[in-house]
Symmetry: D3
Subunit: 335 residues, 6 copies
């Protein structure tokens, strides 16, 4: 299948676990962003994927291009220009201590865009799926408009629309986010969203105590609001510590109801950044492959679990590796 994802991509500077940023003499550098991470996942799974964004004409912009190209993601729509690449700094969490992140993303080439600079007709030609997240409209007031414009254009061009709500409290308020995504959701086919999004962004009332499967309740309510959305999916993450999470995936369709993956016991966690994107990438791959929803959610959750075991934002596993892991996941050596 042919896929376009679009969003901001940033450089992440981090220390090795157990070392603080203010003390560091070296930073590890990786490049990532929600939509870029999904693009790479889908390319690893064999799809023809382009990632659209804007990065500066400097070595960091070039590094972004090489990063994407190395996984076979097309950078035909990766614009070069503007002021700078957004960056953020991260101190990995350990045990009870959570990760600490601070952003230096203002004034980035992407955030400063004032109009659609891509030739949309060309970009969406023959594209099966367009994926974008709720981070894009959060980067600037202008991007609230541009995101909607892109989604509409993609829809008109015949793409399926995939949207990951991905609410970030450091970027905007729930009210701001809610207002914006309600303009976007009427165009969406596949939506990654959870019960918090229902409650705080869409204003859906709290599920009554007596309802046993609350996620189904929220998905039904959201589906009533946006009947165009065919599928909702989300992970439930139980945070035992920074180094130990339990992860379960859920997918729900109007027609088939809810499907739940096995719960992955992830310990130790190497790097959880990009775990949600790996999940989305995995679920979208299942959907694009016409797999059953059970196989799809098992695959997506397995992909996300695998991502937690490697450094960087990027899920580097092939379809075969994810399937093998989903099947066995034993931790044994083969030799």
């Amino acid at each position: 299948m042919k896929i376009v994802t679009l969003g901001e991509i940033m450089a992440r500077f981090s220390t090795t676990a157990g070392n603080r940023l203010a003390q560091a003499e070296h930073f590890q550098v990786v490049y990532g962003g929600g939509e870029a991470n999904v693009a790479i996942s889908l390319a690893n799974f064999g799809h023809e994927v382009a990632f659209a964004s804007k990065v500066p004409e400097n070595p960091l912009g070039e590094a972004v291009k090489r990063h994407l190209n190395s996984y076979g993601v097309s950078t035909e729509f990766l614009l070069k220009g503007g002021s700078r690449l957004g960056t953020y700094y991260m101190e990995a969490g350990v045990g009870e201590r959570g990760a600490a992140v601070f952003f230096d993303r203002a004034g980035s080439s992407f955030a400063e865009m004032l109009e659609i600079e891509w030739e949309l007709a060309e970009m969406f030609k023959g594209v099966d799926l367009f994926h974008i997240s709720g981070i894009a409209p959060a980067v600037s007031l202008k991007w609230r408009e541009l995101t909607l414009e892109l989604v509409k254009a993609a829809k008109s061009a015949g793409c399926q629309i995939s949207f990951d709500v991905n609410y970030r409290g450091k970027m905007w308020t729930q009210a701001e986010c809610g207002a914006v995504i309600q303009t976007i959701l009427p165009y969406v086919d596949y939506c990654s969203a959870g019960h918090m999004d229902a409650l705080y962004l869409l204003g859906i009332p709290k599920a009554p105590e007596e309802i046993s499967d609350k996620l189904v309740y929220y998905y039904e309510k959201m589906s009533a609001l946006f009947p165009n959305i065919k599928l909702f999916y989300a992970t439930k993450r139980e945070v035992i510590s920074s180094s130990h999470n339990k992860l379960t995936g859920h997918i729900w369709s109007k027609t088939d109801g809810i499907f739940t993956s096995k719960t992955h016991d992830i310990t130790p966690i190497v790097d959880r950044v990009g775990g949600g994107d790996a999940f989305s990438g995995g679920v979208l791959h299942g959907l694009l492959s016409d797999w059953s929803l059970q196989k799809t959610i098992d695959f997506g959750t397995a992909a996300s679990s695998l991502k937690h075991t490697i450094h960087g934002d990027t899920n580097q596993f092939s379809e075969k590796e994810v399937l093998d892991f989903a099947r066995s996941g034993s931790g044994a050596i083969q030799r």
Copy 2:
């Protein structure tokens, strides 16, 4: 508040976890010592702190100075001279395998001191708290006298005295230590000591089986011996493995009785050296800030838990970071 701590500071040479000293081609170097670590903790928490010691006039002595200065600790009373910096080598423990440490500290500039080389009137002028530990008198016969001399001088100068028993079996016998600390304790206001110290250093008889809170029993007995001591505090450490400890803090005052922190589940442990000093630093900060004993013990134990998650002897967290951690400690990323 204005604080002076005094003691030996050494270079620690260690390998990365999973590598043995005899095989290593590189050693990590950090500088630390009980009283120096407390000094840095207190400087991080906003106090005006000086660390007094003696280090050689060579690059390692200079490194010690920069280490302390970088955290804002004054080195006005860090003497330069003598033969060498004490060193020790450490192989980090992993799982069931404990850490292995061997010392090469004989003949250090500090240990070879034969008299008080600081101008005490100047050093203790305006100082609120003087902190020293039971390691100082253990380094030489001479230091048994010097420690007492220092404590008395500080007391006379109007400082509160903080003493951390910190018994080290590789340095002297329980009998030797007991004899010495009994000369010191009559001048002490705040004492970090546990039930083992009561039993084996102070000769307090074993608590009868029927007593439920044995720590209170021992603190009461110690308090009876040294009624000048206002507060005792200690951590209880449950060692599940080198990589997994549970840590609970206790503080007891004659007037208010016992206060207990929540139990921190520390796994994985990055580096436990300095964990006790971070605890003392945290507790002393609470006391100097006139916090409640409950808040004080929660803060001290949180500070100690945080220390276990970073490399080096030094607690690099600010008051705000420790308070945030004590409050949440969830292991979640904020973004």
Copy 3:
């Protein structure tokens, strides 16, 4: 005691945990092989050990020689010549994700040997124990013959024979392996083998449900087939994840029955490669030292557990360190 072990030794190229091979800019290099690892363990425990093999006349061959020599293993019988050193690549497992290994061992100097190139009379002169594993006959058709020839020659020379079945499914089928080891086992004194070997290589029928100690059942059956074998031993490994295993050792003798070690809870695992060889090395040391079987199995399992806590194939611990660990294993620092 004087010991010879013989087999292939390879270079292992690996990434640090959390990084994939296809992304790596550096590989860690260690050298190892089942019989070489046993040789080093036994040398560490104080025996006079030689390792016989064939490696190329190039820097990797030289590195193998230095590796062995550094632990005091004699390389008098390490032949130089042939085409190349076998290599393999390994991505360490993390949590649920198992390690991934791929081999590049075809055409190695050892595998290409066509005849016995050692002067056997000299090599086995005064040797108490000859150790070899089921990997040697798996490397080539020729080596199925050569292995038997070596075992017979050692036996004739008066050596005790130690054999570790070590079945590797990537090298040959169970049928092939079974046929070959049945020619070897009649000469063996000490055999490392488990119930899977009994079932799938020796064709022993499955133990009836009602038998409580199934391992004893299989050992008795194997003993009936090969009454010359004095001892069988094996570990039972419970794989909770790649990072967490539980390990229990068992040893059985015809005369004394079964002995079982305590169960070691190994978490985190630093590197499990060589864990089985450390076990064999430890058990053989106990046998060569005339220890009780209980002490022997405790020692072997402790040695294996320790190996899991360090990088590389090689058990770097002395007899004293293993005994101390077996006794305490508390995870506490001594200082």
Copy 4:
């Protein structure tokens, strides 16, 4: 322009300068090969380039693919299969001590190819230039045939043919090489060759003493033998030490005669592997860009000089960077 290059690509394992292979605990890994390096250079200069080869279906094969893709080189014709990736090991030279290299390339997926596995019509469709070197026919007897077959097919499909003689004495004799390249040269348009190739591979008699520009003499003789060849080019390298070379480029055309670049004084040399390929890539870019021969040889020699200043086989500089360097090359910081 559209370009295809074809040849073997290998993994290079090396130590950092000043460290020997037999002592190393880590190897740096880079991927490269003559034709692959030319492909990357040309892609960096803005051309549409595909690299054709065969690599194994394992992480090293995947790493090769990512390496090429990251520079925008198409891997549409990078076949996956066969046994292994060829490897070689290198100890960097320092000062008077030359680099030491040993190969472990036998049995590679590329070397074991027995027939053309690419769909040549598709591969050469619309291609302007096909580049291959004298290393390809050196890998096996079969490849002597296959190389000729490829060159003929490319010629028939309308490609210009670029050939780099690249004689490697460790792979075959001068006589063998000479015989083979004489079958290839009749199809070649652009040829990288020097006076040694003329003398020892093509049997051209030594230039008489009285001839002042001997390179022109040899190029004229070669041109007489292969009148189809439009251009010859080569560098002259003066080796002062491993760390210091002087490099001058020469290009000669039948119609325009000889052009010589400035002499680059390269010290220190970071990594000279791939220097010749960077030269070829630069010269070919000039030719494909219809630059003057003077500009072409200046560009090619500058590109080669730049390559010597970075690690790895790959020239990572853009056309603009090479032009800027050729112009200034001052060693000054711009800020």
Copy 5:
């Protein structure tokens, strides 16, 4: 002596020599800026120094504080606040290839300052020397005013004024710079400036050919324009390559004329960033120490040469080390 320096301080991210930014997986991080570097030099030489600037309230701001404190520089006037720390990226030059630098400094906490936020009376109280450079007024239009305001205030408070012209073509034009510094120079006592500054910033006509010592000519002309300036000084740098420079220092006073240091032959260059600041620091130390101008220029040039041999912006050498080096500089080991 008591000194205040003031200016922007940034994080420098760089790769190791021979590696490009776009390929890097790690960046080295150092902190520096012209005035901060001078502050550290002077603190190393035994003065009481404060560095005034503004950095964000985040780990990078904290790292700046620790960096300065570690050398004993006071951060009493290091304001915390604003948006971000300015950063720049650098690829070290090698041989003929110059270093490549790109800046990401817009919107920094320092550059965004709109008014003097320091309590100047307090900051300049008892201060002997105030040092600032031409980079400060280049960061914003506002800073052109603020710099002048600071210089005037310092002068009024009785400080000597040290000014380093330090023209940066990437920040402003020669015309802009010239206009601004002509407002500042009337307050300056010690000025680091060269003949280029005379020609292009101050519009002094080119020295006639027949004048032998042109630098004296320019200094005399500048001195005529700004008779308040007691001393001018500059280095002459002969750039043989990025790895090899020759460096000579010159100092000129109205009363004593010109003094010239020996020429240092610097090869290899480890890191030349901060070389000019080390020179200024060294010269200012000589002036503050009332040394002869010959000793002063020898010391300053030696300090600068030493700086080229270590990583980072910071001259880490003590007065004694610089004097020893200036005296011997032989390259021999003492043991």
Copy 6:
């Protein structure tokens, strides 16, 4: 041949070039000492060599043992015991800046020895050559006696005696050294000494100006004093900078006169520590191999030059590698 060398061996802690000790977070660790380095050289050249010394019973002592064993040097006479391993710290020199070294060797296991602890009859049995240097008697007053005792015992046992004067000004005065070595030299067969030793240790008067080959003059004078010495040898080192030396070797025999090697131009220097020991090792190998003095001095000087190109004290090159280098030394790659 069978050789014993004896002396102190220490751990060297160093930073990477361009980084200062006081700033370092990691130290590189290598083990070496004059006599140990000679032992390894001779073992690399194929001799049967034992190194005798005393090291502590701790991981550093164990590391020394493994270091020696890895090169095939016997540690049968490496005693374990005493307090500590001597250490020293080194900042590599760069360009004009010389290396900085400081020692922490007091109280080492070797230096504290009070009597001969080896069984000399056994140690010298069948030994052809005993090598020791002037560092051994410098470590303590006791060692001045012990060294002589060893030399006499070796002589009595029929060993040839090799002595390297190796005067270290940081350890003792010229007068002290001179007195001691004059007691040793009467037993010596091969002596590494230069004209400085003649002048300042042996009190030989300065050579008259008119004598052209002054080294011959001094060797003749020394030979007159100690007619038992068959050979003197030394290098002449021209120090252009820390990174660039020129090295020429000289050997002189009473019977055959002077022989001089080619001059090696060593730039860059990776690590010059151990360069003199590599020279002695090379010369001794030539003597033990009955090579001509010309071949011997060429080999020794080549070995020393090679040593300068690798990290660590240890010459890691084989006889063949040194011979190849002595022959070509071109700096070219072979491939």
